[in-house]
Subunit: 343 residues, 2 copies
Amino acid sequence: MLTERQLIILQVIIDDFVDTAHPIGSRALSKKDDLPYSAATIRNEMADLEDLGFLEKTHTSSGRIPSEKGYRYYVDHLIGPSTKQNDVSIIKDIIQDGFFEFEQIVQMSAEVLSKLTNYTSIILGPEMFETTLKQIQILPLSSRTAVAILVTNTGHVEHRSFTIPEKINSSDLEKMVNIMNDRLKGVPIIKLQDVLSTEVSQLMKLYIDDFDKSFDYLKAFFANDNPVKLYIGGKSNILLQPEFNDVEKIRSFFTMMEKEDEIANMLKNSKNGIEVTIGNENESDAIKDLSLITASYHLGGGHMGTIALLGPTRMEYKKVISLIKGLSTEMTDALYMWYRTND
Amino acid sequence: MLTERQLIILQVIIDDFVDTAHPIGSRALSKKDDLPYSAATIRNEMADLEDLGFLEKTHTSSGRIPSEKGYRYYVDHLIGPSTKQNDVSIIKDIIQDGFFEFEQIVQMSAEVLSKLTNYTSIILGPEMFETTLKQIQILPLSSRTAVAILVTNTGHVEHRSFTIPEKINSSDLEKMVNIMNDRLKGVPIIKLQDVLSTEVSQLMKLYIDDFDKSFDYLKAFFANDNPVKLYIGGKSNILLQPEFNDVEKIRSFFTMMEKEDEIANMLKNSKNGIEVTIGNENESDAIKDLSLITASYHLGGGHMGTIALLGPTRMEYKKVISLIKGLSTEMTDALYMWYRTND
DNA sequence: TGTTAGCACTCTAACCAAGTGAGTGCTAAT
DNA sequence: ATTAGCACTCACTTGGTTAGAGTGCTAACA
């Protein structure tokens, strides 16, 4: 178990390192007001803390820096309840404005979050397996083109314009839409393709001449829908972090950020509540030297999506955690409001 | 005027430097098959080319690299007609697929273009002052929410969902839409706000009780429409270029790329046909050490949008120019097709 | 007169040696 | 239990040396 003094020293070291990104030595520490001990005393304590695995040296005669275990301890034990709520209210204002669509809110939140923290923010949009189709509408634009509008129970709207195949006339089209509205309402988005190929296609064959030829087209229409939306804010913020002074690191970071599906998978597993994974605690190799903070937002208990921040292990955990905590509850509230007016 | 031999030497130097990014000396040049001259002869020629401003040295005893004037001459005089058309056909296939919306085509083109070249591609979407409103439709989602669909003459579709203010009932809403469809059809997108505040609001006052209170809402609805869409592909491609080995350069590049309106302005001025601006020829300070290649695509003669590539001055001009040339005509064709089926 | 070989000169990049300073671990005194 | 003192370590800086690639110029050559 750590003594009281060791706790204080660990905390001061972490706070200082988070601030400066430089290793800190015993002499410099002894000059801080918080620590009325001599350099030698602190030196001994630091040696103990290192033995316990909370501190590291960059080389034999360097100052100390926190280890990942040190950060872990800090996050688990040394972070008090968050104090100031000012920052979160910025986001609150945006959400409560009420004018924006949910998509825009998410987008803006990601941006604000990254701007407030100088890290990279990632928000996973409402997940599709909770989302069901509410209605399909077709709006003709010209004799040969039309736009289809899909609406989900979460208030998400999507449109897709297309040219009408020659073999289909407008009454056929109407029939098709009616069948789809009849049979696809309430079906989870991810199951749309399935239901379409089985039930719906059976039914359509009965009513529409020459249906087989149109089916491929219809299927393709529902196909290119990426299952989950990812909003990333402040990608280039990491360039402000001194740990990214190396072109190679920057490159690997950016190539990682381009693999959106991998990132989505990374975040999908996150449980309810706040979760902090530090460095090697991360499963994905690509972020083994970064820290990831995730929180989820909900709709009436069900898991909907995830908010995350990605930054160096040397992260302002205290500030960041309280921010994310605030934002996730804000988004849960906003979603609830949406759902109420939208149903 | 340059002699035949000087032309060849200049060309070989540029080709080599574009390839390797290293200064090249007389001895290395003399070994190339293209140049059956001794190192000393080439040395003399290079000295002359330097006096004329086509070459530079990085330091007194270094090999030569092309100057901006050298690139300019190369682009103006030494690039023959493009040979292989293979690359462009990739894009052609995507466009001719016919299934995608114009927006998606533009997006994908930007991506393909950047992937083929390893530079950063920028495409300016169809410009709004050529674009007019074709129709407005309102689709109710629930008692208190609805989605509006705007369609333009270029086949661009946009939707925006909103909550219906309490003071407006559904028959009022219908009236409003009718009036808008009547009066706003054919109005250029950028003038929508104007016409709305003058004519339309006058008219609506006559028919709708309590209109004033709703007007702000309506206005806001048309407001947050950014005037022009920018598609950027391969932002992180410059990390592959050896000239970006410096974190500071990378940083300034990325902060530049975030100022989308500035970039849009940069591209707006581009005239018809291909235009190449090299280094300091660029007006914008932010890209004074980069080269920009632009081409525009059209709709029946009118200027619609711009395709551009941004890369180091040491650029594969030959390849890139033929690619962009191909793409711009492809997009012009695609637009024409769109317009025909869409009208 | 154009081309080439030869040579002195210049500058970068890599390497090495010495010196400095911040920091540590250990021991002995308080 | 705390602290002062001291020897030691290691990164970083500075200055000097060398090797290599390249140039400019001059003189010889076809």
